[in-house]
Amino acid sequence: MTLREAVPWVAAAYILVWVVILAYVWIIGRKLNRLERALDELEAQQQPGTPDA
């Protein structure tokens, strides 16, 4: 395999690394969104009923 032919493989390797990073961030982001929505509801419930200290 000459250098020229290797180009697509090496490029593919780079893209693969990038996809892995992206997937990681995407999953974290989605989990975060879910958590933040749940928190919004919890805080909404919390506000009106002020806890008795």
Binding site: L3, A6, V7, A11, Y14, I21, L22, L32, D40, Q46
Partner: protein
């Protein structure tokens, strides 16, 4: 607060989704073949931007630390912590891509001649100590102040490490290797800049996501405490 939550995450996300593959495409199909290093030179478009991004992240960490010492709000402490954290992540990437490149180009895992790498070796040890310090102090004011001071010291250490390695350069490895130079042909420079933009948007993305994660954790803690009737 809710509206700009998406902005600070989705904007860098879209940017990096576009820019990073673009850098790969440009690096491999647009820039000419580097005469002596061949394919291994391609990592340059990532290795150097990652290194510069790491410096920027540490600078952001130090700036937030200074702001914490002044404003004393937990938000600035969190930003400083996340800034240093993402700086360390990129620093680790530098310490991975560096040897890869050195092995591919010169057959040696650690190229002492490369000043950039040696500086990162020092910084890596230093900023790992930041987390050691942070986790050995109990949560509270004392930990935030100590972490802030340590992050601020980094501002001194980065230039000093660079100078120290340069001063010691004449002895460790006489052949000086310069990879960065404005004399790069147009296509190289443009690809490098796109790569730089890509890495910066990735950094902003990482910081934004991690900050949101830490804030969510803080809000959960706050809710638990107010449920127990302690709202301080």
């Amino acid at each position: 607060m809710r509206t700009n939550r998406h902005l600070t995450t989705t904007v860098p996300l879209v940017l990096s989704i576009v820019l990073v593959p673009l850098t790969i495409a440009m690096a491999f199909w647009w820039t000419g073949e580097d005469v002596d290093q061949g394919l291994s030179q391609k990592i340059f478009y990532f290795h150097v931007p990652i290194a510069l991004t790491s410096y920027i992240a540490f600078a952001f960490g130090a700036f937030s630390a200074a702001m914490y010492l002044w404003k004393r709000t937990e938000a600035w402490d969190l930003r400083s912590y996340v800034g240093v954290h993402s700086g360390t992540i990129f620093g680790t990437l530098v310490l991975i891509t560096g040897p890869l490149w050195a092995k591919a180009s010169w057959g040696v895992w650690w190229n002492w001649g490369d000043r950039q790498l040696n500086v990162f070796l020092i910084l890596f040890l230093y900023y790992c100590a930041y987390f050691m310090l942070r986790f050995s102090l109990d949560e509270g004011e004392r930990r935030r102040s100590a972490s802030a001071i340590f992050a601020l010291l980094g501002v001194g250490l980065i230039p000093m490490s660079f100078l120290a390695v340069r001063v010691a350069q004449t002895l460790i490895h006489p052949t000086v290797f310069t990879s960065i130079g404005a004399a790069m042909p147009g296509s190289f420079l443009l690809t490098f800049l796109v790569g730089m933009a890509g890495m910066l948007s990735l950094m902003v993305l990482l910081i934004s996501v991690e900050l949101r994660g830490k804030r969510t954790a803080a809000r959960v803690l706050q809710l638990q405490r107010s449920a127990r009737g302690e709202d301080a």
